[in-house]
Structure formats: structure tokens, C-alpha cells
């Protein structure tokens, strides 16, 4: 996987998970967190992050509010809504199932 590519659909899941663990966070914070968690293997394209946030907001999975960052900068803070929490749980489960399935497929010598 090249450094910039993110599997389609996974960015939204990452954003939701980040908001779950960190609580309300602004776009920059989310980006940093995702990059850190990936251990530097992932550099986010902001051209996909912000549209993804907008879409999550439109879908009602996150809410947004203007507030002050740690460095006293005005920033838009995103927060998980109850619907977003449910969505995250469901998607996590889906994802785990997919990974498990693919794992069984891809483990060498296990093909029948």
C-alpha cells in the first residue's frame, strides 16, 4: 500500500473511531491523530478529510461547533452523535468480519 492510499470507506470509520477515543476534536487534530496512529504509514489528503467530515455531518453521525483549541485558536470541533456511535459499532463489527474472512483466505497453505 503506498503511503497516500486509504481503502475507500475506511476514512469515515477512522474519523469516527478517533472521535470516540479522543472526544470532541477539530479537523487538524483528527488528521494528526490518524497520522500518529498509523505510525507514519499514512499521510492524510486534506482534500478527502474535509469532504468526509462534511458528509458525516450531513448524515448526522457527527455534530459540529465552533470552539477554542489548546493554543487559543478558533476552530470547528466535531463530536460523535448517538447515531454516529451506533454507526461506528456496526462498522467496526463489519470491518472485523471482513478482516477475519480475508485473513482466512490469505493465510498461506490454508487453501482447500
Amino acid at each position: 500500500m503506498s503511503k497516500n492510499d486509504i481503502l475507500q470507506g475506511t476514512l469515515a470509520l477512522m474519523v469516527l473511531k478517533t472521535l470516540e477515543t479522543m472526544g470532541p476534536q477539530h479537523g487538524y487534530g483528527i488528521a494528526r491523530r490518524i497520522e500518529q496512529t498509523s505510525g507514519g504509514t499514512l499521510s492524510l489528503n486534506y482534500g478527502t478529510l474535509y469532504p468526509a467530515l462534511i458528509k458525516l455531518f450531513q448524515q448526522g453521525y457527527v455534530s459540529a461547533e465552533w470552539g477554542l483549541s489548546l493554543n487559543n485558536r478558533r476552530a470547528k470541533f466535531y463530536e460523535l452523535t448517538p447515531a454516529g456511535r451506533k454507526r461506528l459499532a456496526a462498522q467496526t463489527q463489519d470491518w472485523e468480519r471482513t478482516v477475519e474472512l480475508l485473513g482466512r483466505f490469505l493465510v498461506p497453505g490454508d487453501s482447500s
Partner: protein, 898 residues
């Protein structure tokens, strides 16, 4: 659900103020992102300038980023729509003829449909302008031999009003024509006698004035108060601001105006304007004593009851209570209430007299079917034209697709174009609505109304109807758009790019849909034309019918003696004076008198030949008339045997009768009727009528009636008050008629003239039904014809363009111009034939439904020729233009450019 939510967000995001707000927010968010990046770089020890540079590089192209966010926000939806709209308008400008034809077709179709829809809404579904109309009911008598919608007798209504627990209050009204003296002279206007609580019951308060005083509810001796309509106020009193309190002389009595209604409330019957409302309790003052009888007995049914459901009461409770009240009335007054009950209908079902409702509904359904047919024809027409254009544009579409326009975007663009076209069609339609309304109200004024005023079509357009018309045009745009969009998007684009033009033959199969549309359209037009032709033929056939009486040198002058307050025993001198003066006018030959006018309904009464009076099977119910001695001469009816009434017979209650030949032959075939007698079973008992004469048969109620038997009885004093002078003239009746009108005005200034018409006017007016049907179906047939011409032109014209190469090769190979024309015309001829043949079963199915409405045979040869021929001629003419183009092709020129 989430999808809808996102879509809504996007739609809102692209609008006006919200949009700027979102842009600003997006700006600020990205800026704060950048600042935080800078902060981090500074913390890692870079200089401010370097930190900013690094941050900018990390963030990347801000404009591109913004653009992506705008996409997600939906800010670009409107921009895109604007571009599509521009594209559509450009397309319309580029092909003005095509666009005009499409817009006009749709406009005519949508307009006429909207007008008919508006009419149907006004007649059947528009709520009355009264308070909570759902809780108001209309009350009627039920009696097996009286039919639906029979009013109540006055005394029954009074009892009902006192006894009902579920209806509170109960009010009533009765239709009358009253003579009112205004600055413009004495006029006879439609009016109602009402209970004093009429307006309270309906929850209608007058726009001006206090309305009736409490004493107006008295059954006897109510004050002389009148509420006038907005229409009356404007038209007879010039909108006098001091109208309330003003005196108004009605039937010779001094009334005081106590209210003026608002413009919306015209009474409870749709299309019938009530001009005056006066209390029931003044009947003794305004009527001659002969009419009191209606108010003082249970015999005559005159009062239309209305009631408002008491709070909490259900319709089922009302029905149950009314049936028990009905039974009680029947038990207490069996002499008149035998088999008579009481019935409640929702007021919405009483706005058209219940007995007339089915006729009105059939008429509206017929009109609706005609305009729906027009809509179908226009739709097939437009679909066909759009399809043709899409074929022409295949290359353009292919290029656009090849250049990377998404199929979705292209489809949206084509849809927007169709919606714009049908939207323009809808706008044109509004103009057409107006035209149709004008035509409708003009014809509707012909319909004889049961009141002194004419029917007035509620012409104002309802916003609801407008909304439906708008939705209809957008829907048509979407549906019509489907064809071209599907055609444009299917198939391989490289195919279209390669093929410059098709060499005929091989492509023919692909045009299946187009041919089907054209044939459908021709079939529908044929049906519309046949319908129009049948109704026109029917009208001309009816016109040719012989009424049996004089049809040229005759005029009728009607007056209403009941409204002058003249007691019935004083009427005869008035009548005789008028007859004498009218007979003395130059040009008048004879003046006869009868209460009724020909072609204006009539009463049948139960009778039997006296030799078999005891046998119930021998009963007959011929229509009757009361006439004076000169009547038969004036009408031009010759005596077959016997004589006219003598002066002596005319002054007494009827003891003698004159039959028409039809009845005489039916009762005593081959024998003389003179000296025989009939028994008249009247409500008062039996009367014997000796037959003194037999006259030629003539039509009585309508031109289309067949073999009706009539009994003429001597005119004595006890008629209701309407009187018709039949004036036989020696020349044209028009000038004599106006002289007769002014002579009557001079002799009896207070006597209202109900109508003054020549015999041909009377006959013409009586044909309002066939005329109305013929006018409208003829109009719609013409529209269908025009639309078909356009359709044929479009298809043949496209065919010629498509086959240019083929035709040129033929010409180059030595084909004559004549052969080329034949080739193209053959094609349209084939369509025409298939269309007509396909129309036959449709016409057959439809004709069974109208068979009761037309007066000619369904296979009337004139009508068939009259529908097939115009369609053929117009089709040939429409095809001729492209055919001429085809025959004037220069093969060298064309083949070189191809």
C-alpha cells in the same frame, strides 16, 4: 433516510444566504487548520517564514481543497443547474419552430385540461364559503314517486325544526323570482325566502349591515327586511355606500335593506346567484292569496332545509333521528305525508340540485374525456418530436460522452430541457385556460336556469387547480424526457460518431417507437374528430326537426303577474288589456296566451278516458297546457276537428279540453274524439273534461321528443302568474317584438318582463345541450387535427432528411420526381391507414358511451367522411412540405457533401 437527509442538506447548502454563510465557515475552518499547522512547525523550531511555507506545502492547493469541500457541501448543485438551464434555453433559441410547436401543443393540452379541472373543482369539490361546511347538511323529502332532492313542505319543515335534537339550528330557504324596483326600472331577480336564522346557521355574516333582526324568524308577520347580494349591490345600486338602511320596493312592498353579503357568498347552489334574501314570514304581504297555500299546507314541497350538526352529534345519529321524525310526521298527517320521509345529505352534495347532479357529472366527464384525449395526442406529438431531435443530436451526444461528460450529467441536462419546454407549455396553457373559461361561460349562460337569473360559471381560477396544472406540466416534462434520454444514452457512442447518415432500410426497425407514437396519435385524433363530427351532425339533424308550430313569424313575450301584488281575480283584466294593445300593434296578426313557453319544460297530469276511469291500467299522464282561444291560431296549429275554447269556457275552471292528434289517435284510434271526455285526477279530486277539439301534434318540451300526447285546457285565473304572449306577426318578428316590449312597459310600468324572444331564439336556446357538446367537441377535434398535422409533418420531414442519400441515389439512377413523391407519401399514407383502422375499436368503445347523447346513428356516413377526410387532407398537406423538399433535391450537390 440518511440519503434524504444528505440531499436536503445539499439543497439547502446551495441556496442564497445559507450558501454565503457556509462559504465563510469553510474559509475559516481551513484557515484555522493552516494556523495550527504553522503553530506545530514553529514548535519544532522553524522560523515563522519557513514554518508558514512548510505548512502551506503540507496543506496543498487550498482552492482545490475548497472545491472538493464545496462539492460535498452541495454548493455546486445550483451552479450546475444554472448551466443546464442555460443550455436548455440556448437549445430552444436554436430551434424556434420545433420549440414553438412543442410549447404550443403542451400549452393547448395543459390549458384546456386545467380549465376543465377548474370547472369540475368548482362544481363538485370546492368547499362552500360557509363556516365548517362539513357539519352542515341539506334536508330533503323522500317520496318514492318524487325522486331525489325534493324539498320539504313548509309545515313539515317547521315541525322538523322544532323536533330535531341532533340538528341545531335548522334553517330553510325557498327559491323565488321577485320583482324589485331599482333606479334601472322594475327587474325580476332570483331571490330566496329564508328563515330568519339562515345566515347564522351557515355562519355567514354580511359584509355590511346587521343582517336580519330576531323578529325575522317569525313564521307570520316578519318585518319587511332584505339582505342583498354583493352582486345586486354593485349592479343595481351602483355600490351605494349608504345601501344599508335604504328602502327597496319588492313585489310592491317597502322593504328595508339590513345587510349586504360579501362577494364570496352567492347562495348555496353553485353557479346560481341569489340576489335578495327576505324572511319567510312576509309571504302574506308579497304573494297574492293564491300562493299562500304553499305556506299553509303540507301538500306542496317548497322548502329546502339546512341544518348544522349539534356539537358532538354524528351523521348516523342525525339519520336515525330524521327517519323517526319522518315516521312521526307520516303518522300524524297521513293525508299528505303518506310514504313521505326526511333525508339529510352533506351540504357539499346539495350545491347542485341532486336531480341534476348526474347530468352535470356526465357533461363534465364528457368534457374531461375530450381534453384528456387532447393531452394524450399532444403528449405523443411532443414525445415524437423530442425523439426526432434526439436522433438528430446523436452525434452531439456522442461527442459530449467521448469528451468525458458523465451519462448522469447528460441525462440531467436533457431532462432539464424537457422540463423547461413543458414549463413554457404550462405558461402558455394559462393563457389558454382563460380562453377556454371565456368560451365555457358564454355557452353555460345558455343553460336554462331554474331561477330568474342565468347560470354563472364560477370562472375564478383556484390556486389548487393552478398547482395541479403546474405539477402536470413538470410531470409531463419528466415523462416526455424519458424517451429522448433513454434513446440518447443507449447504444455505443462510437457508432454514432462513425455513421454520418444512415442509408435507410437497415435502420427502419429502430424507429419502431416513433411509428407507434405517430399511429397512436393518428388513431386518437381520428376518435376525437369522429366524436366532434358526430355531435355536429347531431346538432344539425336536431335543427332540421320540425317543431310542428310556426317557426318564423312568431315571438314570445313573458311577464310575471305574481310579482305585482295583483290579486288573482284582478289578473284577467290586466291580461285582456295587454292582449288588446299588443294585437293593435302594426305587424301583429294574432296574440295567444299561455302560462308557459314552448321548449321550457312542462307538467304532466294523471288522466284517464272517462269510459275506463275505474281501470288503473288505463291511466295516462299527458303533458298539459292552459291556453286561450287565440293560442292555436297564433302558434300556427290547425284544428283537425272541433273548435277552440269559447270566452265562457275560458272564464270558468276547466270543464273542457282540446287534445293533440297524437293523443286522440292513441286513445280512440280511427274515431272522432269530439264529445268524449277525460277524467283528470287532481289533488283536490276528479274533474271531467269534455273534448271540444283536436289540433295538429307539435313538439312541446324539446325538439327531440317523439309522439307525446298533450291536453290543452282553458286558461282561467288560477295560474301561478307567469304569462307568455305568443305573438304571430305578418313579417319578421324582431321589430314587432321590441315594439311589444315598449308597449308593455308603457301600459304596466310595474310589471317585470321575464323575456322577449323570437321563435328562432327560443328554438335555438332549447338546443343548449347539443350546442354545448358540439361546440366543445368540435373545438377539441380541431385541436387534435392541428396537432396531428404537426406530428405528421415532423415524422415525414425527419424521414426525408434521414433518407436524403437514398433518395438522391434513386434520382441519380433515373427515378422521376413523381416516384420520389410517391415513395414518401406512401409512407405517410400507411401511417394514416393504420391509425384510422386502429382508431375504429377505440371509437366503437367510446361511442357506446355517448350513444345516449347524440341524435344520429353512430355509423352516420357524413360524420365518418367528415372525420376521415379532414385527417387525410391535413395529413397529406403536412407531408407535402417535406415531400417537396425531397423532390427538389439536387443529387450532385447532396452526394458530394455527404
Amino acid at each position: 433516510m440518511r440519503g434524504l437527509r444528505v440531499w436536503l442538506h445539499r439543497l439547502l447548502g446551495s441556496l442564497g444566504r445559507d450558501r454565503r454563510e457556509r462559504e465563510r465557515e469553510l474559509d475559516e475552518e481551513l484557515r484555522s487548520h493552516l494556523e495550527m499547522l504553522v503553530d506545530d512547525q514553529l514548535r519544532s523550531g522553524l522560523s515563522p517564514a519557513e514554518a508558514r511555507k512548510k505548512a502551506c506545502i503540507t496543506l496543498g492547493g487550498v482552492e482545490e481543497l475548497k472545491e472538493q469541500c464545496r462539492d460535498a457541501l452541495g454548493l455546486r448543485v445550483i451552479d450546475q443547474l444554472g448551466r443546464d438551464l442555460q443550455f436548455a434555453l440556448r437549445g430552444i433559441r436554436r430551434t424556434p419552430l420545433f420549440s414553438a410547436v412543442v410549447v404550443l401543443s403542451l400549452g393547448i393540452a395543459i390549458g384546456s385540461n386545467t380549465a376543465i379541472l377548474n370547472l369540475a373543482h368548482a362544481l363538485f369539490t370546492r368547499p362552500l364559503p360557509i363556516e365548517d361546511p362539513g357539519r352542515v347538511v341539506a334536508l330533503y323529502s323522500t317520496q318514492p314517486d318524487l325522486g331525489v332532492g325534493t324539498p320539504l313542505s313548509f309545515l313539515n319543515w317547521l315541525d322538523l325544526r322544532q323536533q330535531s335534537q341532533t340538528l341545531e339550528p335548522v334553517a330553510g330557504y325557498e327559491w323565488e323570482s321577485l320583482a324589485v324596483e331599482t333606479p334601472r326600472g322594475t327587474s325580476r331577480v332570483p331571490a330566496q325566502l329564508v328563515s330568519g336564522n339562515y345566515f347564522q346557521t351557515l355562519g355567514v355574516s354580511p359584509a355590511r349591515g346587521p343582517s336580519f333582526s330576531p323578529a325575522a324568524d317569525n313564521v307570520l308577520g316578519a318585518p319587511l327586511e332584505v339582505v342583498i347580494s354583493h352582486h345586486f349591490w354593485q349592479n343595481y345600486l351602483e355600490g351605494d355606500p349608504a345601501a344599508v338602511g335604504r328602502a327597496l320596493r319588492i313585489n310592491g312592498q317597502p322593504f328595508t335593506i339590513v345587510g349586504v353579503t360579501g362577494p364570496a357568498f352567492t347562495g348555496l347552489n353553485v353557479g346560481l346567484q341569489v340576489e335578495l334574501w327576505i324572511p319567510f314570514g312576509v309571504y302574506r304581504q308579497i304573494y297574492p292569496e293564491s300562493a299562500w297555500g304553499w305556506y299553509e299546507s303540507r301538500r306542496g314541497v317548497i322548502v329546502y332545509g339546512i341544518g348544522r350538526l349539534r356539537a358532538g352529534a354524528q351523521m348516523s345519529q342525525v339519520r336515525a333521528e330524521l327517519s323517526s321524525i319522518g315516521r312521526r310526521l307520516e303518522r300524524d298527517h297521513p293525508e299528505f305525508n303518506e310514504n313521505r320521509g326526511v333525508q339529510a345529505l352533506p351540504i357539499a352534495e346539495a350545491t347542485i340540485f341532486p336531480w341534476a347532479r348526474p347530468f352535470v357529472r356526465n357533461g363534465v366527464v364528457l368534457l374531461a374525456a375530450a381534453v384528456a384525449l387532447t393531452l394524450l395526442i399532444a403528449a405523443t406529438n411532443v414525445a415524437n418530436l423530442l425523439l426526432l431531435r434526439t436522433r438528430e443530436r446523436r452525434r452531439e451526444v456522442a461527442i459530449r460522452l467521448a469528451l468525458g461528460v458523465s451519462r448522469g450529467g447528460l441525462a440531467t441536462r436533457l431532462f432539464v430541457e424537457c422540463i423547461v419546454l413543458s414549463g413554457l407549455g404550462g405558461c402558455t396553457g394559462i393563457g389558454f385556460v382563460w380562453l377556454t373559461q371565456q368560451a365555457l361561460s358564454r355557452v353555460i349562460a345558455y343553460i336554462p336556469s331554474p331561477t330568474a337569473g342565468p347560470y354563472q360559471l364560477p370562472v375564478e381560477l383556484d390556486p389548487l387547480v393552478f398547482a395541479v396544472a403546474f405539477a402536470l406540466s413538470v410531470l409531463m416534462g419528466l415523462v416526455l424526457g424519458l424517451f429522448p434520454v433513454l434513446t440518447a444514452l443507449q447504444g455505443d457512442s462510437s457508432d454514432a460518431l462513425r455513421a454520418r447518415s444512415d442509408l435507410g432500410g437497415g435502420e427502419a426497425r429502430r424507429f419502431g417507437l416513433r411509428n407507434v407514437l405517430l399511429v397512436t396519435q393518428l388513431a386518437l385524433s381520428f376518435v376525437a374528430l369522429l366524436g366532434g363530427a358526430l355531435f355536429l351532425r347531431s346538432l344539425s339533424e336536431i335543427r332540421e326537426l320540425d317543431p310542428g308550430f310556426e317557426r318564423q313569424q312568431l315571438a314570445f313575450l313573458r311577464v310575471d303577474l305574481s310579482t305585482t301584488g295583483t290579486p288573482s281575480n284582478a289578473r284577467t283584466p290586466v291580461r285582456e288589456r295587454l292582449v288588446r294593445s299588443l294585437s293593435a300593434l302594426p305587424g301583429v296578426e294574432r296574440v295567444g296566451v299561455s302560462p308557459r313557453e314552448p321548449m321550457d319544460g312542462g307538467w304532466s297530469r294523471p288522466m284517464a278516458p272517462s269510459e275506463s276511469a275505474a281501470d288503473p291500467d288505463a291511466r295516462i299522464s299527458p303533458y298539459t297546457d292552459r291556453v286561450d282561444a287565440a293560442f292555436f291560431d297564433a302558434m300556427g296549429l290547425a284544428f283537425v276537428e272541433g273548435r277552440a275554447f269559447t270566452l265562457d269556457e275560458l272564464r270558468q275552471p276547466p270543464r273542457v279540453a282540446i287534445l293533440n292528434q297524437e293523443l286522440s289517435q292513441r286513445l280512440w284510434p280511427g274515431q272522432s274524439a269530439l264529445g268524449r271526455s277525460l277524467v283528470l285526477f287532481d289533488l283536490e279530486g276528479r274533474a271531467s273534461l269534455e273534448i271540444v277539439g283536436v289540433v295538429e301534434s307539435a313538439k312541446y318540451r324539446r325538439l327531440t321528443e317523439t309522439n307525446e300526447g298533450y291536453v290543452y285546457m282553458p286558461l282561467s285565473d288560477d295560474y301561478e302568474g307567469l304569462l307568455t304572449f305568443a305573438i304571430r306577426t305578418s313579417g319578421e318578428p324582431d321589430s314587432v317584438l321590441s315594439a311589444a316590449v315598449s308597449e308593455t312597459r308603457r301600459l304596466e310600468p310595474g310589471l317585470p318582463i321575464v323575456s322577449a324572444q323570437t321563435v328562432s331564439q327560443v328554438l335555438n336556446r332549447s338546443l343548449w345541450g347539443p350546442r354545448l357538446a358540439a361546440a366543445f367537441l368540435g373545438l377539441f377535434a380541431t385541436i387534435a387535427l392541428i396537432l396531428s398535422a404537426v406530428g405528421i409533418y415532423g415524422v415525414i420531414s425527419y424521414d426525408v432528411t434521414r433518407r436524403t442519400r437514398e433518395l438522391c441515389i434513386r434520382v441519380a439512377m433515373g427515378a422521376e420526381r413523381f416516384d420520389i413523391a410517391g415513395l414518401v407519401l406512401l409512407d405517410s399514407g400507411r401511417h394514416y391507414l393504420i391509425g384510422v383502422v386502429a382508431g375504429v375499436p377505440v371509437a366503437y368503445a367510446a361511442s357506446r358511451w355517448v350513444s345516449g347523447l347524440i341524435f344520429v346513428d353512430l355509423l352516420d356516413p357524413y360524420a365518418i367522411v367528415g372525420s376521415v377526410l379532414p385527417l387525410g387532407i391535413v395529413g397529406a398537406l403536412a407531408a407535402w412540405i417535406p415531400v417537396r423538399r425531397a423532390t427538389s433535391l439536387d443529387p450532385n450537390e447532396v452526394l458530394r457533401t455527404e
